[in-house]
């Protein structure tokens, strides 16, 4: 067992897979000599050399397109988009090409590739370097999407994403990079599409993702002081989506909340609650509430950004009020 930061866990997961499979290669801006602008790929160039850890120009279409071409011809590329907002620059490659080519060719083309990207807000970077884009990617058939919340999950989900035969988007949350936790030694491989219950509770089910998981857990501590025990589920993977774990929890708690960093409209939680409405409506004893960033761009100013993103306090207040009103 070693203590690792979330940022070190990125390199640990990639390195583990590069060690076992020579077809795993990396490409992206500043990932080699510089070790990544978030220092997530530090040490990999020294370990695996410039043939496998390729620095690229600022050419997001070329980075993601080249990853696709390499994946369809036998490699397992891990491409970095420095900020997830840059999906906007490479969206044709992601949404039109990578997501659809297996289907359009009736399975002739396989695309075992990973696009990893620094996602999310809280760092005062402003509206073009802070977005939560996981809901953009999950809206496109043909893409798998994961968003780890802990260092151990980062290692295991990164490994699973690299081994997966389909394209996987790995959202690395910028606000979690400095978080430290124990990570087991040896090879770690998680399974895509498995949510994890981070805290058990009987009064409400709270589904969260990435940086919203620690905030939901902080809200749980606060609510527990009032005798309210919430169950916090870390969704971890949006595609595949583990509704089995969520619905089993809702059957026990009869209340459902989502905590989403994304702007309100069409966030992942909308899909989660619509499935719950279809399949678990008779288990519910109160309104289902989505706690999200409002439908506005994120501001750079700390006071404004903090007012926008769901805080532990807002999560606790919303849950408390909703449960009281449902009694």
């Amino acid at each position: 067992m070693a203590e690792l930061t979330y940022r070190q866990a990125v390199a640990r997961g990639i390195g583990q897979e590069m060690e076992r499979d020579p077809n795993v290669v990396m490409l992206g801006e500043d990932i080699g000599a510089a070790g990544g602008v978030f220092k997530t790929t530090e040490g990999l160039l020294a370990r695996f050399g410039p043939e496998r850890v390729r620095d690229t120009p600022i050419s997001e279409q070329a980075i993601i397109g080249a990853a696709m071409g390499a994946a369809m011809t036998g490699l397992r590329p891990v491409a970095e988009l420095m900020f997830s907002d840059f999906f906007g620059v490479a969206w044709d490659m992601v949404a039109n090409q990578i997501a659809k080519t297996r289907y359009m060719t009736d399975g002739q083309v396989s695309l075992p590739l990973v696009i990893r990207t620094a996602n999310g807000g809280g760092l005062r970077f402003g509206a073009q370097h802070s977005q939560s884009i996981e809901s953009w990617t999950m809206a496109i058939p043909g893409l798998k999407v994961v968003a780890p919340s802990t260092p151990a999950d980062m290692v295991g989900l990164m490994a699973a994403a690299i081994r997966d035969p389909d394209p996987v988007i790995v959202c690395e949350h910028k606000a979690l990079f400095a978080d430290k936790a124990d990570v087991p030694d040896g090879e770690l491989v998680e399974e895509l599409g498995r949510a994890r219950v981070r805290r058990s509770g009987s009064d409400a089910t709270v589904v969260a993702l990435a940086a919203m998981v620690p905030r939901a857990l902080a809200a749980a501590d606060e609510l527990a002081r009032d005798g309210i025990e919430i169950e916090v589920i870390d969704l971890r993977s949006l595609v595949p989506l583990d509704m089995t774990t969520v619905l089993a929890s809702v059957e026990r708690t009869s209340h459902l909340f989502t905590v989403e960093e994304n702007p309100r409209l069409c966030g992942w939680g909308a899909e989660v609650v619509s499935i719950a409405a279809e399949e678990a409506i008779y288990s519910l004893d109160g309104p289902v509430v989505r706690i999200t960033t409002p439908h506005v761009p994120l501001a750079a100013n700390p006071v404004l950004e903090d007012a926008q993103m769901p805080s532990a306090e807002r999560i606790a207040t919303t849950i408390r009020a909703t449960l009281e009103a449902s009694r």
């Binding site: 290669v25 043939e51 390729r54 690229t56 120009p57 050419s59 279409q61 070329a62 980075i63 993601i64 397109g65 080249a66 990853a67 696709m68 071409g69 390499a70 994946a71 369809m72 011809t73 036998g74 490699l75 590329p77 044709d92 490659m93 039109n96 090409q97 080519t101 297996r102 289907y103 359009m104 060719t105 009736d106 399975g107 002739q108 083309v109 396989s110 075992p112 058939p141 043909g142 035969p165 389909d166 895509l192 599409g193 498995r194 993977s237 595609v239 595949p240 989506l241 583990d242 509704m243 089995t244």
Partner: protein, 338 residues
Amino acid sequence: MSTDVTDTPAPAELDGDLGLRMYRTMLECRLFEQRTHELFLAGLVRGTTHLGIGQEAVAAGFATAMRDDDYTFCTYRGHNHTLARGVPMTPILLELVGKQGALMGGKGGSMHLTSVEHGAMGSYAIVGAHLPIAVGAAWSAQYRGSGQVAVCFFGDGTTNIGAFHEALNLAVIWKAPVVFVCENNQYMEYTPIGAVTAVERPAADRASAYGLEPLVVDGNDVEAVHQMAQLTIDRARRGDGPSLVEALTYRHGGHSRADPGTYRPEEEVKAWLARDPIPAQRAALLKGGVGEEDLALIEAEVKAAVAVAEKAAREAPDPDPATAMTQVWADGGAAWRS
């Protein structure tokens, strides 16, 4: 980076067999597409088609210079390039008419013809997308040491989209074994390319920006195209990096099936029709001593192949609607819940 072509060995003499092979390939493209167009008008082919009638020499000249395991990347105007890699007509036509036995199960259609086993790595319908993808395939070949080359065909209009420039730069700095082939058919969809481009030669005049030599070839002269293909493919295969070729050619018809192409001056159309690559190659072969009966035999065989494909297309059943839900993922299915 210097990419001087004068130091490369002269290509092997074009032998008679090769000339006939290229003639057959061009004819397969021509007769297949002509029949496709007729079947479109008859309501058998659905959706849209983008024909390459008039541009066959580019496909035939390059495909005959490629190794079996080389990669072709092309655009939605991709029937010619797919046929030229040896993909049989019948599954292609079944794809176009949407029947069982189709090349991609009916999921792709005319704009996405792909046959990985033939090295036809896809027809790409968003302008420019396949240039970076071809660089990635070439990078993969380089990394694996396979000696494969990627040849990437695109239209003149592509030279004005960002992906073209990103791909060229990346290919050069990585010395990727890729040959970029601009089929300059003079029009980006409905607009003359000269009206929307800062330079006269949309591809060749951009080459120097990437340290590449400007290479222009008569795209209606199949033997000239083939020589250029050998030169540039050999260069890529021996590790000397990418090339950018501009092949001057002409689309006999409009942009797509919806376009009669009436915006083009009559004189211009006439002049290019007189330079049709297929009669030109036929005349060259006859002049070179090939017998009329040999050409007639090829023509009869190609016509028969088109007829066989058409018969299959008319008789094949519709696909099973359940197949609409297959092959989203590598497990063959479409499930998004675990």
